[in-house]
């Protein structure tokens, strides 16, 4: 398993051809109290960079982009009743959706954990 990060503050955990996607702890901290999450429907074909999900905090809506291309095969249904999971466990229980990777080469566009940490420290 390896974890990748985008400069839009998404994380991607890759296991074989499957990737689990969420937003980073830094992102949830910036967003504040999360009250609603719109996840994509299972079966949606996403292209890298597409709008994939929407995170609503008390104050504002933010788009979550597809970090990688592929078909959505599972969504985190727990977020419907408990969107605050993203605040309490952004990089574990608060995952958004799982996708079957259609182009593993896209992962080379992403950062590893060390690079992402350095990126955030510079913000």
């Amino acid at each position: 398993m390896s974890r990748y990060f985008t400069d839009e503050h998404e994380w991607v955990e890759v296991e074989g051809d499957t990737a689990t996607v969420g937003i980073t702890d830094y992102a949830q901290e910036q967003l504040g109290d999360i009250v609603f999450i719109e996840v994509p429907e299972v079966g949606t074909e996403l292209e890298q960079g597409d709008d994939a999900a929407v995170v609503e905090s008390v104050k504002a809506a933010s788009d979550v982009y597809a970090a990688v291309s592929g078909e959505v095969i599972e969504v985190n249904e727990a977020l419907e009743d408990e969107p605050g999971l993203v605040n309490s466990s952004a990089e574990e229980d608060g995952w958004f959706f799982r996708i079957t990777l259609s182009d593993k080469d896209e992962l080379s566009d992403l950062m590893d954990e060390k690079a992402y940490k350095a990126f955030v420290d510079d913000l």
Partner: protein, 381 residues
């Protein structure tokens, strides 16, 4: 995620104090302002149950001095200002010559002058408009050396009483003797304070004008009290939305007339009969319910908030209105919004469809305020 340009922003007297308390600072009305400390939800709920301290120093504090100031100001506002007794406050509207709303403001009869509080984002335009419209015999001072704090919440009076604020003159009242929409001059450790029992959260509370050099001392003395915490502008916005209070630049602007904005209460009877304020003919032609559209409250079905910019649509999908404020109500734990809808859809209980990012969301017209006001009103005689 956004990163905002924080260059060229002006600093307010409490800027460093906020940063020292760990506030997240954002650009607002040309200043760097605290948007939140521990989190909007917690700060919102704290203000509804205890007392929150807001820095609203970006707002414009003005003094209008001279003979006939109230009469002159009545030419461009629909408020009954000449009838305002000393120590009383009115909410009114600054109107363009065509009746469009240029700003909303609080006007206090401070005895020898009128004291005005206007919005931060509009204050420079307001000052230019006032100077152009008012006679040269009047003088308009912009109190740039004063900070403005708002202490809001059910424990605001209890907290303020602990500071030991003295009357401005012997035998005058103390701040907690004030009722909603009353104001007066006071002294704290020899520092002159202008205190009004008002605010924009729907709660009991006070707005305190303090010389900039003493703002940190006062803010620190207040937040040292157990019932007071500093609160950011994020919670101020969700509080005023729950209170059904419109925000200038969002729920009102120069293209909106007072009746459309559902502000009939700001058109006093005496002034309606006189009809001699800016844009009166156009404004009064809509009074009381002849406007084509009206600002209403919406309860949103489900959990997804709708935001400013979402559209109100009819059964055929055509745009017939717009959402001007929206968010998640921490008190009600559901999304609420304000929108302009056609007058025939403005009755409480009417089903409304809103489209946001291509998705249709069902709403119902709701009575405002969404959360009851908790003002300390003067008992009716």
């Amino acid at each position: 995620m956004m990163s905002e340009n924080t260059e060229n922003l002006k600093q307010l007297p409490l800027g460093d104090w906020h940063r020292g308390l760990g506030a997240r600072m954002v650009p607002f009305a040309g200043y760097e302002m605290p948007v939140q400390y521990e989190g909007v939800m917690a700060e919102h709920i704290w203000t509804r149950t205890e007392a929150g301290l807001f820095d609203v120093s970006h707002m414009g504090q003005l003094q209008l001095v001279g003979e006939g100031a109230a009469d002159a100001l009545e030419r461009i506002t629909p408020g009954n200002l000449s009838a305002l007794a000393p120590g009383k406050i009115r909410y009114t509207l600054l109107l363009a010559q065509d009746g469009g709303i240029l700003d909303d403001l609080m006007v206090t009869n401070a005895g020898d002058h009128l004291y005005l509080v206007v919005n931060g984002a509009t204050k420079h335009d307001d000052i230019a408009y006032l100077q152009a419209q008012l006679p040269d015999s009047l003088t308009l001072h912009h109190l740039e050396d004063a900070a403005l704090l708002a202490l809001q919440g059910p424990k605001a009076a209890e907290a303020l009483a602990k500071l030991g604020i003295d009357p401005g003159e012997p035998n005058w009242p103390v701040p907690t003797d004030l009722h909603f929409m009353e104001a007066g001059p006071f002294l704290w450790r020899g520092i002159p304070l202008g205190i009004s029992r008002s605010g924009y959260t729907g709660e009991d509370g006070f707005e305190i004008s303090v010389p900039a050099e003493h703002a940190v001392t006062l803010a620190a003395a207040l937040t040292e009290l157990d019932e007071v915490r500093p609160i950011g502008l994020g919670a101020r916005d969700s509080l005023r939305l729950e209170a059904g209070l419109p925000l200038y630049g969002h729920d009102m602007n120069a293209d909106i007339l007072p009746v459309e904005a559902n502000l009939n209460f700001a058109l006093s009877r005496a002034r309606r009969e006189e009809g001699n304020f800016a844009g009166a003919e156009r404004v009064l032609a809509q009074y009381p319910d002849k406007a084509a559209k009206k600002r209403v409250g919406l309860f949103v079905d489900g959990r997804q908030p709708i935001r400013e910019g979402a559209t109100v649509i009819d059964a055929a999908g055509a745009t017939i209105g717009n959402v001007t404020s929206g968010g998640f109500s921490p008190t009600l734990q559901r999304p609420i919004a304000m929108a302009y809808v056609p007058m025939d859809l403005s009755e409480t209980g009417t089903a409304i469809t809103v489209e946001q990012r291509g998705k249709k969301i069902a709403c119902t017209v709701a009575d405002m305020p969404f959360v009851p006001h908790n003002y300390h009103r003067k008992p009716k005689p």
